[in-house]
Every structure is written in structure tokens, then in C-alpha cells.
Symmetry: D3
Subunit: 289 residues, 6 copies
């Protein structure tokens, strides 16, 4: 598939298959043109993939070896520096082509800014959008730009997708009001628990798209993200929620966004890499067809 721009990136430390034979297909979107604070999400896909070298392909919790699964890595989208909208459009088209090449494949996006999540959601059109994030991302625009990362959940809401947000600890009044008006449920990091997650998610319509803004985790685990926030979630309380979700809802796509930094072995990327492997493992083990 010659329309992908793979030469800047790296593959995960896994044996890979062609898209046609894949159950999962990884795509990087190394865009960071609208980052508000700490730049470097452009290196997220490379750092996460490189970080998988740190991991065993076997997931102890599930008795699943990712090296035995059918996973494709289609490289990185050719982004347009300084133009989020055009990059998103290319992302939509790419994911559509991916699904045409293999309608059963589950796309896994590695960011890059959260703004890029619009691409898989638009291409896959789930009924629900479940997101872990420190931020509501419900602004109408930010710095005059509706395609800023701080607006992505609003844009997705405008597609008619139902939204539930977890780990929230930052937002503005306008976003709170919008959420109220549109019936978007969000759970503050202070009130988050796996039980609370289940209560909120259990009635969401299927299929579901799942997005992880890495800043949902505590800033001590993800120091190299665009906008790190104190008071975040811990690893297992996200994994346990995802396990429940995967068992109970059909998932059509997944992403890990906002990993940034420039250092190989940065804990932000290692957290992202481990999450990637767990997600694939739990989908294989428990995934609802």
C-alpha cells in the first residue's frame, strides 16, 4: 500500500503480517502542530514503537503471546506540519483505505496530538466514544482553531457519537456547560474508580471507539506529554476498566495519543508501549466479536 509514509518511523518489536491478513493494524500520526505546552508528540509513534523493545511479547495476565497474533504496522501518516485539518483529512482517507483493504482489521492509532483522533472516529463511525484524558477537549475552538487538540471531543460529539470521559481534571466553564447540554458524562480523576467506569459505560451503544490521551495518567508516569497534569490515574485502574469494556462492548478502534518527548526509554513512551500490548492482548483474549 504505497500511500503510507513509512520511512520516518520504526516498527514495533513484533513479527508482523500484511494488512490483508491482520487482525490489528498500527498507524502512527506524528503530528504536533497545535500543542499548547510541551512539544514533541511528533516523536510519539517512534518512541512508543521503540519502547516495545523493552517488553516481552507475552502478556502474563492473559497467557497470550503477541508474537503469535496477526498484527500489521503500516507506518506513519505523512503529516502536514502546521495544518491539523489537512492532516486529519489524510488520516480519514488512510483509515478508510485500510478498512477497504481489510474490513475486519482493528486500527490502532499512535499519536501525535489528540486532534488526530478525529480521523479514525470519522472513518470508523462508532456509536460511542470512550476516552481517558485529563482534559475535557470540548472547546469549540482554541486559539481560533477548531482543529486544535483541545477541541477533539467536541468535534466528535458533533458527529452524533455518544461520549464518556474519565480521568478529567482540567477544563473550562464552557466545556462543562456543553457537556451538560449534550449529555456527555465525565468522571473527575478524584472520583474515578473501575466501578464508576462500569456504571457510566454499561449503557453506551455499540460499537465503541476507545481513545487514551496519555495525560490521563498521573504526571509522574507521563512527564513527556503535551500538558501533564498532577493527580492522574494509575496503570491498573485503567487496564481493569479496559478489560471490562473489551469483554462487554464491541470495539472498533483504539488509540494512544499525546506521547511526546525526545528520549528513548522515556517512561511516557514505556507506559504507552505497555498499554498498547495490553490492549492487543485483552482484545485477543476477551474481545467481543
Amino acid at each position: 500500500m504505497e500511500f503510507f509514509y513509512t520511512y520516518k518511523s520504526i516498527e514495533t518489536a513484533l513479527p508482523l503480517v500484511d494488512v490483508e491478513n491482520a487482525k490489528f493494524a498500527i498507524l502512527g500520526i506524528p503530528f504536533d502542530g497545535t500543542t499548547s505546552y510541551k512539544p514533541g508528540a511528533r516523536f510519539g509513534p517512534t518512541l512508543i514503537r521503540q519502547g516495545t523493545v523493552n517488553l516481552e511479547s507475552y502478556i502474563l495476565d492473559y497467557d497470550i503471546d503477541l508474537a503469535e497474533l496477526n498484527i500489521a504496522d503500516i507506518g506513519d501518516l505523512e503529516v502536514v506540519a502546521g495544518n491539523p485539518l489537512q492532516t486529519v483529512k489524510m488520516g480519514i482517507e488512510t483509515i478508510r483505505e485500510l478498512k477497504e483493504a481489510n474490513p475486519n482489521v482493528i486500527p490502532i492509532i499512535l499519536g501525535g496530538e489528540h486532534s488526530m483522533t478525529y480521523a479514525p472516529v470519522k472513518a470508523l463511525m462508532p456509536k460511542s466514544y470512550v476516552v481517558f484524558d485529563a482534559h475535557l477537549d470540548l472547546r469549540d475552538e482554541y486559539e481560533s482553531n477548531p482543529w486544535n487538540h483541545a477541541c477533539v471531543a467536541r468535534r466528535i460529539s458533533e458527529l452524533g457519537v455518544e461520549i464518556a470521559e474519565f480521568g478529567i481534571r482540567s477544563g473550562i466553564r464552557e466545556e462543562v456547560e456543553y457537556a451538560k447540554e449534550k449529555g456527555i458524562t465525565w468522571v473527575h480523576a478524584r472520583e474515578y474508580s473501575v466501578e464508576r467506569f462500569k456504571e457510566v459505560v454499561k449503557d453506551l451503544p455499540e460499537p465503541v471507539y476507545v481513545s487514551i490521551d496519555i495525560d490521563a495518567f498521573d504526571l509522574s508516569m507521563v512527564p513527556s506529554t503535551g500538558t501533564p497534569e498532577a493527580g492522574g490515574l494509575r496503570f491498573w485502574e485503567v487496564i481493569e476498566a479496559l478489560e471490562w469494556l473489551v469483554k462487554n462492548k464491541r470495539i472498533v478502534g483504539f488509540d494512544i495519543m499525546e506521547v511526546a518527548g525526545m528520549e528513548i526509554g522515556d517512561v511516557t513512551a514505556l507506559t504507552g508501549a505497555k498499554l498498547l500490548f495490553y490492549f492487543i492482548g485483552m482484545m485477543e483474549k476477551f474481545g467481543k466479536p
Copy 2:
């Protein structure tokens, strides 16, 4: 007010007012001449203020927008490198002038070493001193110096102020004995809880000065402080204690000390910045007049 030395610093990412109209006034004290281990607290005020750019001015938990409040930032004290006592004296004088200019203003100090906390306490003369710290800071002197950061709580105790300490996990026998003799209550980080905090604090006389040595938090959240210690507190268990305190006791001053490092976006500074915004927010929302 020409006695402030502002040109080395930066202002927070907030609209500001004059001291005369302010409810809160921020002052940096970038002194780090007696740091025991990791230097760099001189950059603390700059890094915390710069770190506020990472944050929304709106506090989700309180429905308060700091951009709508009356906050002044009077810059940094002109410190005397290598002379903590002289710097403290200038700090006392500055805070007194600040209170003369506006008797209702609540000073918020950004450090700099913990030794500098003596300045606002001496100037404001609270009845009680509530501090979060990994260290007792009750030494009579350290390296022949009674104005070392490891002695600040002792100096404050000698002013007749009642003291309660939380998050403690380092000290020496002499300090433990002094605390016992003087009736200073301290709670080990292993035994800390918001309930324990309330029990200890509820009978303290008002008004109260509140000091946060950033090393009270777990070293994973604050790697760039003078003496990071494993086994520290987490963000919300400090916030919840502060909320209770603000609701139940009159607060006359607040500080965030020992943020160090040289890197913009260091998680230590971002933790400090978020704490700063939460403190102002909770004072506005719940503060006892």
C-alpha cells in the same frame, strides 16, 4: 512599589491587578544558597510561574475562574546569594510593606529554599503553622548555620507559633526530641490520611499560615527538589486536607517551597503550579474570612 526586584522573573499566565486591589499577591524568593543536595531552587519561582501556562485558569472542582479574580504578582525578592539571614530580613520587610499597601491581601510565596518561609511567618505572625514536608526542619543549626532550610520549623517554633507537620519521613533524634518537648505534632507519611490531618489540625489556634515543602509529595512527582524522598504523599490527599483547612480555619499566608530544576515543564514545577491554582481557587470558594 519599587522595592521589588522583578526583572529576573516572569509572571503567571493570569491577568493581574495592582497590589492595592488584590486579594492575593504572589512573591518569589529565588534563594538557594544553603541547599543540601540538589541545587536549583533559585529557578523555582520562574519555573512555577512558567508552568501555569500549562493550566486552565478555570478550576473544574470549584467552578472558579482565576482569570476573574484579583491577583497581583509582585515579582521576585532581590536575594543575596550566600546569605540566607540577610535575604530573610529583606523578605520580612517586603511582606510588611506589602501588607501596609493592602492589609487584606493574602501573600503567596514561591520558593526558593524552605528557609525563606521564616520571612512571611515573621511578617504575618500567625498563631499556627501547618506544613507539608518530608523533613522535620527542626534542627537547631545545620552546617553551623541556624538559617539553613533544615532549621526553619525550629525558628518558627521559637516565635511561639504552634506547629503541625504532615508527610514527614526524614529527621534526626534531636528533632524528634525537640518536637516532643515543644508539643509539635508530626504525622509520618506512612500514617498520613486526611482524617488524621483533620484530627491534628482541628484544635490549632487561628490564624494559620500554610507551607508546602514540595518534597512532601512522592519523589516520582517532584524529582527536581532539593532533597527528594521516596514514600511521599499524592496530589489529592494534600488537596483534600487543604480544602478542609481552608473551610475551617482562617489562613493568612501560603507558600510553595523547594521547587527546583532548570527545565521548563519539569513535573516538579507543574505540580507546584497546579497546587498554586488550587489554593487560590479553594480560598476564593471556601475561604474563611
Copy 3:
């Protein structure tokens, strides 16, 4: 002048005057939305200004004390993340207003990406543009964007300004051909000398705008810039050229662009800060009225 957005930035370690009384006025443009490789030029203005704390205000070479001069610092332009063209337009307007407020003031821009240099050039309309850079910056567009930093010299050329470039060691065939066609002289870093500089510059029409892309220097001096290149210039061979230029040509504006990084005291910023002080010193000492 309320149209400037100063609260995110910091001032240099100099006593300052109002724009109306200033001979020099510093403006930061913290934009880095189109950076090709290493992000972080958004922190350039803050890091350069902070880096001036490292310096004496007295310039030994000229017996000039910058603390005795009339210098204004008007803060940072409010940039639009992810939109270089809109940011450039605001920059043009701001510099025009600055010149209206004080027609004699010499603007000094601190970047931020090199793309932003279009703003002062367009506002000041010099006859010549003298630039130190590792890159030709003569592309018609880059990643579909004519306002990318790699196109800035081309855009300036299209204004009818004569161009001379020094320290060049990167470009593409298209740029070489464009330079040839338009009579743009460029001197490779391998062939650079102060003598060669004089030969090229001596016949340029006045007034002159001078731009320093910090990557003109050897990558060992400027590790934290967008696209560091080995084989660059050294400090004094740039200073000596600038001294000759300032003595022999009327200068209407100056900038230091592409300082990036996130660390206080990074040598990139310290090189930029020293260059800033030398430029002001030599203008005062030798500047052609």
C-alpha cells in the same frame, strides 16, 4: 500599549524604558508550529531573555553598558498555534504600531521559527536582507506550506529585497537555482570568512535588515535549535562580520531566530543572549545613523 501579549514571557535582565523613549525595542515571537525536526522554538524568547541573567550588561569590547541605554521590551506576540500566516500578519501589524509609536526605534525580534522574520521585514521594508543561516530557506513551499520556515528567504526575495546569505550548508537544487536566477549570493560555511562577508555585503543597498538563524553556528554551540547542522560558524567570526556591517551600513532591524529547547541555561540560549547584547552594544558604539 495594550496590544502586546506579555504575560507568558519574561524580560531581559536590563533596566527598561517605555517604547516612546527607546532606541531599541525587543519583541518575542514564540511560534514553532512548522518546525521540521526539533521542536521548542516557542520557548526561545523566554530562554534568551532568561539567559541574559548569565551576562554582564557591560560589553568589554565596546566600553558600553547596556544598563545605561534606552531599551524597551514589549513582550511576546500572541501567536496562533498551527497558523504561521495569521501569526505573521499579527507580527507585521505589531511592528508597524511599534514604529508609529516611535519611528526611531530599532526592533529586535527574538524567535521562534525563522518563518516569523517575514513580519519585521515586511513592516520595515529594508532594501537588503543579510542573514546567517545553515539553510538557504529559498523553497517555494515546504509540506504544501509557503509560510514554512524553509521558505522565508524566498518570501522576502519576492518583496524585492536584495539578499545575502552566510554560513549555508544545507539546501536543495531548486533553491540553488532560484538563488542563481534572482542573483542571491550565498556563502557556504566551508568558504566563509569575514573578508568574504565584506566583499559580498559591501555593495548591498541600504537600509539593511539583519537576521540570525541560530543554526548558522556550529551544532556544538547550538544543540537546541530546530535543525542543527555540523560544520557551522564560530562566535567571533559572526561578531566581526556584524561589527563591520553595523559600521558601514544603516541597520533597521535585527533578529535572533530558532533558539529552542526547554532548559534554562542551555548553551543555545546563552549564545543567543550574548549575541543580543553584542548587537545592541555595537549598534550603540558604531551604528550608522
Copy 4:
């Protein structure tokens, strides 16, 4: 004892005694030739010892001052770069000579890679091996090398020593099967609690050797270790388990392995240093003779 190679290292910030008079003897093994991911464990012993400067010698929890104890520091083993087996052999011989010089001394090893733990275990021949680790370390070989750090628990198992592992969150199927076959109990980090620890450990035969692979802790506390893993243990839940163990079982040796990095004051080393002091303190306070 001239057989130690001390000149590359540093001593802890404690007053020291000769081996003959010591209750505890510290030995560094700065080997990192088989590290899988992040190198630098060679600097572990230096960084941990240097990190003790950050600490009080008094342990608040035990009312014990390490400065009053008899502790020797015999420097670092002269490692053979790129040859783990030969280095392990030298380690065995060194620890044997140490025990001959003083049969009552308790060796404390600072690593270096986990592979080096074979040396004290072989030299001290405990009945049980209790280890905190993110990894099972039960591979038969790794990269064709049976002396790789990923095989150390297997090698120790082959000595007939009983094994219990805590904090595990990485391994492969072969290791799980080997553990099952040999009756090795391991507790996943998700299921770890001090209660669970006691249940597993209470029936182990004495004496016990205790090994801490620093990667057992959450990666936010130990970013600079060879293979950091998300979802790890926190400081007090390890300390409380060790306290129980020390009270209830005779301990013959202890190590802190896999501290890496190159930065003085790295939180990884500070976590290791604090653990070192706590271990000595609890052995003095509660240690079963």
C-alpha cells in the same frame, strides 16, 4: 583486603568500619554487559552511594542512627566488561573471602545487573530466595546466554534454593511453566499486598536471601533502570513486607540491583539509597539473629 577494586567508586555518606568489625558490608558490582534495554547499571553502585548524601543517617521509623552502627564499604568488584560469567565467579570468590574475614557480616550488594545476584546467593547458600522484581527472570537462556539478567532466578532455582517472587508483571510462557513445575510462587503486581506477601513467605525455610530488582517499583519512581515497567509497587508496601520478613526470618544477604542512569540525584538512585538505609535500620532494629 587488596582483592577489591575500589578506586572507581565512592563510599556511602556514613562513618565506616573495617570488615573485621562490621555487621554489614557493602559491595558494588558495576556490571551491565547484558542489559536488554536501558544501559547504565554500571553506574548503579556509585549513584546509590552518592544518593545517600541526600539522606539522614537516622531512621525516623526505628529510632536507629546508621552512623552509630558498624558498617563497612568494601568498594566495587573489578568487573569484566562483556563477560557476566567471569564476573559472577569473581563475585562468588570475593563474597566468600568476605565471609572468611568476618563470618558474621551481612553482605549487601549494590548492582549492576540482576545477573550478579547469583554471586552472593552461591557464596551464601541460603535455603530461600525472596525477590521483588517486575520480571520472572526464569528463562533458561536469553540471547544464547544463560548468565543474562533474565535467567538469574532460574540459575538460583537450580541450586536447590526455594524461591518466592513479588511485583511480577512481565514474563514468558516458558517461565510460567518452569515456575509451576518447580513450585516457585510468584505474585503479580496487580495482586500484591503485604498480606499476600506474608502468606507466601511464612513457610519458606531459613536462612533467606533477599533481592530487590529496583524495577519492582513503579516506573515513575525508577525511570533509570534497565527495563522499567508500568504498574509497579510503591515504597511503603515493599518496606512493610521487608519489615515483616526481617522480624520473622533469618536474613543472610541483601541486594539492590538494576539501578542505572548517569545523573546524580536521579530518583531511581534515591529510591535505592533510601531502601538501603531502611534495610540496615530494620535489620538492626528487628533482625532475627
Copy 5:
């Protein structure tokens, strides 16, 4: 060619061809098991390739666009951690297979430790070995290991290959004597000049293998190499020597070794990447068939 282990690495930012059609073939050898001081050469191949994203594919000096050439990238050798000899053997075999697949291809090795250079030299059997290095690398063994990086020139000398070394500023008496005995010419960094280079090299027999230990450059340009040394060479004085060599001698292989570090955009890797592009460019422009 399934015998290469590519999944840990990354390709350069160039369009690539198959080995069969290639004029140049890049192979990474990410081994660093015997590094004496600063570890991390395992990341050298990844960091150099990633660093090519910083560069234009067009070489201004030669009017050559690398994007138009036939270059293959065969990934990284599967190294055996902690076993340099076995890794070297696999390297020899791999390069032999590469030459069998395409006898005209010029292998370009990216290290990894300098010890690995033995592999291409043994496989290609040049008559002469021209090396830029801070170190003589003529020890018989180092830490009991004849395959340590400090022995590589000695091992190559034992193959009967003539040797000339440039940029030297570190060695021991034994090495100086060996060089004298075997007629190995070495030029101290203090005495290095392009003229001196030509004098030494002009009589060497062809074909020639060229090796660059990146530590030949001044430590300010290459801070992240295994053993950085002050007083090193600058970029153009190496490039000019290489240009002369390429014009006057037939080259059969080339390598860039000892790039280490963990940071994307580290100047060490950027220096290596630029050297890689220049070497390919000059071979295309001036290379003696």
C-alpha cells in the same frame, strides 16, 4: 533476505532499493557490551538513521541528491548481548552474504562499538585501513578480552592490513610500541591537517576500508559517545580528507561507529547522520571505481 534482524531499527529518511539493485547498503550493528565508559552505542544505528530526518537528501557541495541514488538499508544485525566475538562472527557472515547477493555493493556500517568494525574488514579484506579515532585501539586485550573495542585496530593489523590513524589523542605505551613495530602511522589530533593526512595516506595500497570512530571529533560535537575526548577534530577537516581519499583511492567499505546516547536529535547522532550523507555523496560524485 530473512537473515537480518530488522525489527528493532528504523530506516534512514531516504527512498530505498533492494540490495540487488543497490550501490550502497546500510547495516546497523547495535552492540555495546564492552563499552568502557558511557554506554548506549546500542542506540547508535537508530539515532543516526532517525537523525537523517534532520537533513536534506541533496548535498549542496556536490550537487547530488541522495534520493536519486540506489541505496539499500538492510536493518540491524541481531546482536548477542555480552558476546562481542559471536556478534562479530555473525557480522562477518552477514556482510559476506550481502556481497554474494550483490558483489558491487558498498557496505556502510553504523555502530555500535568500534569492536564491530572487525566484521566488515574481515569480510571485505581491504589492503588498507584508514581510521579517524581519538584512540589507538591497538591493545592486545582489554579487561581480559581481545574483542574489546580498544583492540580492534590490533586485530585488523593481525589480518595483514596496513593501517593509518588520524585524530589520535589517547593510548598507552604498549600501543605506541606496537604501532612502531608494525609500521602503523598515527597522527595526533594536535598535528592533524588535511595536508598531513594526504602525505600519510597517499602510498597506502588499495582497496581501502574507512572507519570513523565518532570520538575523533571534538567532544563538544559528540558528547554522547563511549569515551569522549577533548581536543578533537572539526567537521570540515575530516570531510576534506575523506574527499581526497575517495578521489584517489578505491574504497570498499565505510563505517560510523560509537554514536551512543538515548536522545533523538542529540548532536552526536546528527554529526553522524551528516557524515553518512556526505560520504555517500562524495562516493557518488568522486568515487574511484
Copy 6:
């Protein structure tokens, strides 16, 4: 000699002798309480000594092996944080005791701040003081403190010692006037050459004390010093001057000051370490008795 405080430091990678038998004795003074800009000189002695592990003990240029010389390392002075004068006094006393123990020994001081150089000069009372520095250090006081590092050459001048300074590129008018008045020659970095050095130094009275403020070197070689300055000296042009000086003047003491930072292997420390080895080597080879 129990008056030294050795336990916080590290020894160089050299076999050592007792002070009584030593020709050279190394003393660290890890004081950094008055640092103006970048802190961390407290780690200078540790980092320089640790950096010697990077070096061969054999000096190629002199055919001298430092491992065969009589060198003592007496550890670090116990500094008083925040009190430069008291620390200097202890330094004077220590160096006097050192000379009493062995009148022929040549003290070599590793800093720590330049202020500490007053101690060896006062203790050794040379006739001349030759210093490489970016700064004049001739202020009467700085921040009200006459013992600040910026005053050290002035304090030494007041002892009646003749002074020559090289590599200068920072100072204030007062310092220039003082130098003129007192006949202190200083050579700007722009005008520095070995020839110029010889002209200035040749008539200085003996014996001579030599001080290297590491910031004399270009900031690209010494990024981690208190006040790095662009436009500095290169390694060999300092070494060649020192060689001439050692051959022609009797040297009574030597220091390397202002190495800072927190990272093992930082190029600043490696530059200092190499300079240390060269100085000892040239004293042994050429030193005037």
C-alpha cells in the same frame, strides 16, 4: 590526616600514595553557595574524578604514565553551605597542614566555585597568579559579598600577587579600571594566542600559581559551568600555553574550578579531567624544580 572530609567524594582512577610520599596532592572543594547562574559546582570534584575513568593514565604527548607517579588524593574539604568566607578559611588551614605534612607536594584543587581559589593562593603565597577565565573576577564585591566568585582575582591582587588573565570576555567598567590601576594584564579571548600568552607571562616573577576557571573554554565544551560564555578558548591552545609556562616558570599550585552539572560523563567534567591529567603529565615531564 583526620581533618579532611572524604566520605562524600570519590578518588580519581589512579593508584594513589600517602600525602607524605606524594609529588601531587588532589583536594576537592565542593562549594557553590554564591554561584550567579547555573548551580552545581558542588558536584565538580566528584564529576572530575569520576571522569578520569574515561581516560588512559598514560599521556601520549609526554610518554608519561600517571599510574607510575606519586599522587595523593586527600578527598574533599568539608564545606560550609552558604558561607564562602568560613569555607575559604578552612581551605587555607587545610592546605597549610598539607604543606606541613609534605613541603614538596604540589596541591591541585578541584572546585567548586572560583572563590575557593583564594584558599590555595593565600596558603601558598606565590609571586604571580596566572588564570584562564572568561571573567575578570576583579569586582570589589558582588551582591554585597566580597567573597563571591566574581571577586576572587581582586582579593588575590590585594595580597600583592601579580596577575595575568587569559580568555577574558566578560567584565564591568570598574574591573577594567581596577586592572589598569594595578597593572593587571588581561587578554581578551578574541586576541588570545599562545604567542600573546608567552609575551605577557614571560616577565612574571616566580613562583606561579595557575588557576583554570573552566569557563575559559568555549561554552560548547563546558556547558555545565556556573556562567558559560560563547567565544571561548579551545583545548590545545590552553595546553600549549601551560606547557610553555611549566617549562619556564616554577609552579606551586594549580586548580580547575567551576566544573558543575549533575551528570556523569558531562563533557564539562571530561574536559576538566583531561586537563588534570595533562597538567600532572607536563609537570612531571617539563616541570621546573
